[in-house]
Symmetry: C2
Subunit: 316 residues, 2 copies
DNA sequence: CAGAATACTTGACAATGTCAACAATATAGT
DNA sequence: ACTATATTGTTGACATTGTCAAGTATTCTG
């Protein structure tokens, strides 16, 4: 915890510097830094009220009022009367839009210059790191999630995350990590396109969970390695992953969908029940170190109705 | 690239807000924000010159001079004459140290409050994400690296990173990713403590590279999966990993250390040559999709001299 | 040793941010 | 409908923060 605080403070000092360097490029331009911030906010939330601007930027109301008067004098904005006669909705003029475009382009260039020397992988890593930091720091971020098929590197990342999370929450050790490695590697090795799939849920490009479907032969499919990142819980991502998986299985004509899970994973059990799975077997095993109660669940699939395809499931 | 710029700018706005909220906690305290920044810098780099402060914080020289005069009046600092009579080296007084301690504690508390609701795994993830972002953004950071044995989650992460990096740099596809998964999982499954090991190089807690040593039987050890992250190259991390590995092999009494590598990996070949490896076999294989020339290298190990142990190698 | 560079200070001023008072309007409770 | 209360936006007064250029004392360089 102390290390974490020190690291964050160190990053804070670093980023303050960096932001200062980026901002310095506006000095001497048409707009000052607070003006630029305000103009950006106006352009993004048009039409907005002075009050909304003040709140979202954390600026003083009087200060905002004065800057807006300046903008009006420069011909960047127009303020008329709203339905609520206290407010004066703000709209950008053509000149205002031009001023914004100029500032916007400069800011883009400044950032572009900063990451120009990074190769594509490094750029992806950077975006991922920043998005991850933000998701962890700001639980109120409400960006939605998306689900995509797996790509290079996902197998290892999924195995790593599940191993770490289960080690932390349930103390499952090397046994589980080996199983994770074996299952993900075997999936990749034997992958049957069109019959099997692994999906990854993402929030702002950050991996938020995953699920596998494998072909067990004889018309039976198996659902495996479902998980959702702690930071992403409570958004029904697990539901969406299971729906995607069931939709695919039904679509491809599988007769049953089976899964193994652990009795202690309460959230997962409720999820499976909700989706129509039924428990068909219970057995204690020692795969993860200490004895653990495993359960087998099964879902009988109706033949494809032509209504709910995997694609549709993705869109819900 | 455009997405990357948009993401970074979005993070920028977010972090500006966050930093503003953290800073707001100093208002009304004994020191103002720029004073706090300056005081922090003084405390960390004591004794320092006004010039150094001005440069490292990017503040105006006159501004710094005035704040320092204020600090002197408050009895926080003493300025005497240096060997260079133009400078006036700054030292904190007891009162200054107290003032700093108070501010420092407040800042710590502010950050602690921000991450209090995060569980330990999430805190680690956050620190990792921030450190990674910093390493990518600021190539001049010169923090050193350290080497540690593997821990939970390393196998998957190593497999993922190598798969992604080689896919990007050489186009090696699923074949390589499967090999990565198999090798890392097999290592974990058959791990013989004391005879085998995997080491991870870290910079500021961020994985910067890794290397494996496995027991091949008959007194032969095998070096596997050496890699160094692009952002970490040029710091002799590869050298240190190979040295660690050779030291361990020698220490444990192995007679030979063998490795497979690919002819196109020039940097690695030079590294192996430098450490005394000799190429003993060349063969084209098709494991990674397109045909690739693989090479076997070997190092004959002298019996342990008692001088260079694995522990010593770690400390270089 | 002259000229250039460096470390620091100071005056003048511009930009940025804060606070409280106030007018106009809206809302909630009776 | 009426009153107390809250909200939106404006303004004056002011404090803080940041910038620029000129100037002094000292050191460095050829």
């Amino acid at each position: 915890m102390n290390d974490a605080i020190a690291s964050i403070r160190s990053f804070n000092r670093f980023y303050t510097q960096l932001a200062g360097v980026l901002d310095a490029r506006f000095l001497g331009s048409e707009a000052t830094l607070p003006e630029a911030r305000l103009l950006f906010e106006i352009a993004v939330n048009e039409p907005g009220s002075a009050n909304a601007l003040q709140a979202s930027l954390g600026m003083d109301a009087g200060y905002v009022s004065r800057i807006l008067t300046r903008f009006e004098k420069r011909g960047w904005i127009i303020r008329d009367r709203g339905t609520d006669a206290r407010t004066r909705p703000i709209r950008l003029t053509e000149a205002g839009r031009d001023a914004f475009a100029l500032l916007d382009a400069r800011q883009r260039d400044a950032v572009a210059g900063m990451i120009a020397r990074l190769d594509p992988v490094a750029q992806t890593d950077l975006v991922d790191a920043l998005a991850r930091a933000r998701l962890l720091l700001d639980p109120t971020t409400t960006s939605g999630f998306s689900i995509r098929p797996f790509r290079t590197g996902d197998m290892g990342r999924i195995a790593a995350r599940q191993s770490i999370l289960y080690a932390d929450s349930h103390g499952w050790g090397r046994g589980l990590e080996v199983v994770e490695g074996e299952v993900t590697t075997a999936f990749l090795h034997n992958f049957k396109p069109g019959r099997e799939q692994c999906w990854v849920a993402e929030i702002d490009g950050v991996m938020a969970g995953s699920i596998f479907l494998t072909d067990e032969g004889g018309g039976n499919a198996r659902l495996r390695l479902l998980y959702v990142e702690p930071f992403a819980r409570g958004r029904r991502i697990g539901d969406a992953l299971v729906t995607t998986c069931i939709g695919f299985a039904r679509d491809k004509g599988y007769a049953t969908l089976t899964l193994w899970t652990q009795a202690v994973l309460e959230t997962a059990r409720r999820l499976y029940t909700r989706h129509g799975f039924e428990r068909i077997e219970t057995a204690v095993h020692h795969d993860f170190g200490e004895p653990v109660t495993g359960e087998r669940w099964q879902l009988r699939l109706a033949p494809p109705s032509g209504r709910e395809t995997a694609q549709e499931a993705l869109e819900t």
